[in-house]
């Protein structure tokens, strides 16, 4: 069945880059799906600039990083995405809201993730998160 929406090459490229980012955040961090780690290139470097989460070095596996993240919180929800997509330079900077349940407190953080790509895979990312605000 053909798609009801006709996308030219540029928009297909944009959608593909955004899908990798959202797959990592939603399928990987929120749902714990190991397949989300497939969006990372070998040796990818992921840095949490606010020091909230463990760093993913070139020698660590994305799966290990996602496990460490999920061990730190019992509930995780990434939502309200807004993307800056640079298809030419293969970069995506995403703004999003993160909900976490830690120590029986539901916390909200405003975040940004700046992802670099090569051949459709994430080669590096810098994550920023606001100080957590308790909600609910």
């Amino acid at each position: 069945m053909s798609s009801p929406i006709s996308l030219d090459g540029i928009w297909r490229e944009r959608r593909a880059l955004v899908a990798v980012v959202e797959q990592f955040l939603v399928d990987g961090l929120d749902s714990g799906s190991p397949s989300a780690a497939g969006g990372f290139a070998t040796g990818a470097l992921l840095l949490d600039a606010t020091g909230d989460l463990p760093a993913l070095s070139g020698s660590a596996s994305p799966e290990a990083w996602m496990r460490a993240y999920r061990n730190a919180c019992r509930y995780s929800c990434h939502m309200e995405f807004s993307h800056v997509v640079d298809a030419g330079m293969a970069g995506v900077c995403s703004q999003f809201t993160r909900l976490n349940l830690r120590d029986d407190r539901l916390l909200r953080q405003e975040c940004a993730g700046h992802f670099r790509f090569r051949d459709g895979l994430i080669t590096g990312a810098v994550i920023h998160a606001s100080r957590p605000v308790e909600i609910g």
Binding site: L47, V84, V85, M89, H128, S130
Partner: protein, 132 residues
Amino acid sequence: MRYESALDAVALEDLAIRRYFGAVDAKDIEGVLSCLHDEALFTVQTDFVCHAGKPAIRRMLVDYFAAFETIVHRDFKLSADPATGRVAATFEGLVTTAAGVATRLCNTNIWRVRGGRFQEIHVFMSGPNILV
């Protein structure tokens, strides 16, 4: 919010890096404000602070420029998105007081352009907020 913008990728980079950060590092308040609309919103997302409108942003800049002897932004990793009028950069910020106390930050800025100027600036800081 998405705005109408006709700036291409080169113009977005020029506005964000050469004009905006060039003026910040030169402590040129009028140069910084010339990049913004009168009702621009400047938010430090990591600290839930919002400076709304040029008078509030000017006040913040006056205090910021007075607090540091030198301000340097460098090593920009840029993503420009002409289709949505947005541009983002991750970079190193190095600010030094007159007493020689240096603070190094790894920040990300996201700018939203309306027409040819910034309507919104979203700042994500790796350390304590210095844009108060």
